[in-house]
Symmetry: C2
Subunit: 139 residues, 2 copies
């Protein structure tokens, strides 16, 4: 009998999940910055997230440690293959959530904010429902 796992697996493992969320936000932002401006510097991420560049630096160090980013001192930030994959996937999920919110009538501004928060907590099943609704225009 294997009942050793916590009764309520429904509840997320807060610390770890939070770390993944930040990782996703960062790789997404890095990919976007590289796409739009050719490169990604710590200062760009600092502006974007409203944190100090010291904080960015350490987060990037973790991403590097975990195999998502790669850097040389004083050089632009790059994504590894794994980082690019994660960025692409996060971006896609983000877009689905954002478009869904627009489709149900949420304003662009609020949809942008809420999508940021929601995207990390949507299971594949829910995501499929979101997409289905957005595409068909109804349900």
């Amino acid at each position: 009998m294997n009942e050793s796992q916590p009764i309520k697996r429904r509840h997320r493992k807060t610390r770890q999940d939070h770390a993944s969320e930040i990782a996703e936000d960062y790789v997404e932002a890095i990919a976007e910055l590289i796409e739009t401006s050719g490169q990604c510097r710590a200062v760009d991420l600092a502006t974007r997230f409203g944190v100090s560049s010291v904080t960015v630096n350490r987060t990037i160090a973790r991403l590097t440690r975990d195999g998502f980013a790669s850097t040389q001192p004083y050089s632009p930030i790059e994504l590894t293959a794994a980082g690019q994959r994660l960025a692409k996937q996060s971006r896609k999920r983000h877009d689905i959530v954002y478009r869904f919110l627009l489709a149900i009538g949420v304003s662009e501004e609020v949809a942008a904010i809420d999508a940021e928060g929601i995207e990390h907590h949507v299971s594949p099943e829910t995501l499929r429902k979101f997409q289905a609704y957005t595409e068909s225009g109804s349900l």
Copy 2:
């Protein structure tokens, strides 16, 4: 000219928001436990959230510090008026999200998990849309 705030207010202030999420999860759980079993003990919350009772203890200490909970040593955990208000509001928001997910066809199990994650990131505007959809059965 007041442009001192970070350019992207869209992005949540991670640390602080995360703390609020935990506060909401806890007061919600405390209220529920008191309702269903008459009282709330640290060990109940530990089981519920899958963390150690030491962790629960310290979280409760923070909630107490912040005016949401009150405790005597070795006694059950209680909510202050503010805690009860927060619990009620969180519960309501949770239910709206959960019912909305069911309404768009997400399974009960997945809806329960996703609602836990999503509820903290839904603005009043989006919440109204969710509720409108759930109630009218369409949009």
